[in-house]
Amino acid sequence: MNRPFPTDPVIRQLIVQAKRAQFSRRSVMSGAGLGAAALTLVACASGETEAPSPAKDNSASDKTLNWANWAAYIDEDDNGDYPTLLAFEEQTGIKVNYDVAVDDNNTYYGKVKDQLALGQDIGADLVCLTDWMVNRLIRFGYVQELDLASIPNSKNLTTSLQNPDFDPGRKYSLPWQGGFAGICWNKEKVPGGLTSVSDLWDPSLKGRVGVLSEMRDTIGLIMLENGVDISADWTADDFNAAIDVFTKQVDDGQIRNIKGNSYLEDLKSEDTLAAICWSGDITVINAEAGDKWEFAIPTNGATLWNDNFVIPIGSARKSNAEELINYYYQPEVAAEVAAWVNYITPVDGAKDAAMAIDPELAENQLIFPNEETLSNAFIFRGLDGQEESEYNAAFQAVLLGS
């Protein structure tokens, strides 16, 4: 590494010459490389805006199905098996490969977007993603149209979810599970509890407040607190007013933790004493780490979101996927899943089915909300491409402190 340069002048001269020759050869080669690389890239870049076309359906001969979903999002027994899925395999003979491949809408999208754009198989025939991401996938033509005739049970879909603005008539997507984003707090440290989002800005909680890094939940709740109906046609001013509130609370050090799924760690370690959080999680951590936390729907309303089944454009097993969706839209099956995952099922009749399993569960407003609860929960309206870019950038700027 550190060899001394030879002292003999002749040898020195030779080395210098050799180095020069090496250098020019290298630079010539890299020049050629650059040119070739640029050409390939230009070739790749052309013709990318066309929407891909759906893959041919081979379901009749290929009785398999790959389902990508989030962690802890299906009923699981002590052996790590999924009872409802085993029953489905037995009934239909379709072998399901259930893959916990989604841990974040954005990272999952980042992983598969190039294949989707080319109409290639992404290794999943069925994926469950959140409303806004499904909105984007539909806009880009990255998902296949569902044949609702082969999903007769889709008639069980609850009325309020039948015509979301991103997919009127549910032609491309059907909900899997949903939930509320509301407020929660540590009952021991905040004995008084909270009732509204503004209570999070109380000076006594300074530096101990957490919010979600999901724009539509955090900004959605602040907008609701400001009296804006997030489902209606609100304007950029309404959004910016909420961003201002958010920025002020972050800059003042009132809000300390802004996270995705990992916010539960902060609740457990008590870095966070009060937070904006997801309904199903609180049931789970109360069961895991002692009954310490309480969830509430803020007085001005909670946000309501759903994760939806979609069939990626490159999947060659569309009928198998539809068969699985149809299976999970039976009220009895939906109730079984809901009892385990603690999220809201979109299937009508599941509540009655749940009565048979556990009456107390059926009364839980966070799993089987009644009309009154639902009337205070709002779905963040769909954004168009321009709005999505602009609002995302504004929200990320706060998260990065810029």
């Binding site: 690389a37 984007r136 995302n392």
Partner: protein
């Protein structure tokens, strides 16, 4: 020695012209590898960094262009995060050096009479690598959390204000960076100090040099290659690190470094040109800083 040097010299005298083709052939896999996995991505990064948004396009839709303003925009928008990255990396490098030097000196020089102790201590330095870097960082997040014994203890001793906290602050991030890169600093220092000839130190004291002067003129000078490689191995990855400063780990919204800005622009905002130009700025800045540093410390041969 002179004999063998002479004999190899004569052997290679006729060698070069004959074997130059073979040498080129042997180089080929390496050159191809570099072209495919370094040059092509680099060119694609440069092209991406110059893209312009598609007119009336959706989120994440860009077209080929020559928009060099992208660079000015990101520097204007994220100047603070860029400077912060280098500041944190510099602090972490200094702390790691201050911590590692005595450690490496002890293992490499003082513990020489006890090889077993030497090996044991080396294993202790390397052992953390057996556990994932992410898990170790998460563990620190727990250790430094608000209700942890460390934080409550510091508060009880009035060393920390009652409403103060550690996670999510620059202190936690610099601490995490320092902790995670200490082995990268210690090992090259150890390798340099282990070869230190202690007779030079004796000579120094025989010539009436104070211990500090001996240290400065002999030990430090001889361990310079170790310091340089340790500093490079720590500073370069630390400046681009996005785990420690991330909000999911030890950082908060006020500690974002360049890696976090790139991640957010790439994955969430889908602003690929901004992410690409930031990556190139990071690369160029590190290259300039490292070159200046190596020049100054007079060890060009290392590169």
């Amino acid at each position: 020695m002179a004999f063998t040097a002479f004999s190899t010299g004569t052997a290679t005298e006729q060698g070069p012209r004959k074997s130059s083709r073979i040498a080129l052939l042997l180089l080929l896999p390496g050159v191809l590898y570099l072209m495919l996995f370094f040059l092509v991505p680099l060119v694609s990064l440069v092209i991406t960094s110059l893209q312009a948004p598609l007119e009336l396009g959706d989120i994440g839709q860009y077209q080929a262009a020559f928009r060099w303003e992208n660079y000015a925009t990101v520097i204007g928008q994220y100047g603070e995060q860029i400077l912060r990255s280098f500041l944190y990396a510099l602090l972490a490098t200094i702390f790691a050096l201050l911590f590692s030097y005595p450690l490496a000196y002890f293992i490499g020089v003082k513990a020489r009479p006890w090889p077993l102790l030497q090996n044991l201590m080396l294993v202790l330095v390397i052992a953390p690598f057996f556990i994932s870097f992410l898990l170790r960082t998460l563990a620190w997040k727990q250790i430094l959390s608000d209700e942890s014994p460390i934080v409550t203890g510091l508060k009880a001793l009035s060393l920390l204000a009652p409403d103060a906290y550690i996670t999510g602050t620059p202190i936690a991030v610099v601490f995490g960076l320092t902790y995670n890169f200490i082995p990268f600093m210690t090992l090259p220092l150890y390798a340099a100090l282990e070869r230190l000839d202690t007779r030079y130190l004796e000579a120094g004291s025989d010539l009436y040099a104070k211990p500090f002067t001996t240290f400065r003129t002999v030990t430090l000078a001889l361990s310079m290659p170790g310091i340089v490689s340790g500093v490079l191995l720590t500073f370069i990855p630390a400046a681009g690190d996005y785990v420690n400063a991330s909000r999911q780990f030890l950082g908060g919204s006020g500690t974002a470094m360049m890696g976090n800005v790139i991640e957010s622009n790439f994955l969430v905002s889908l602003n690929y040109p901004a992410a690409a130009s930031l990556s190139i700025i990071l690369m160029a800045a590190i290259l300039v800083l490292v070159t200046a540093y190596v020049r100054r410390s007079g060890t060009e041969d290392l590169l």
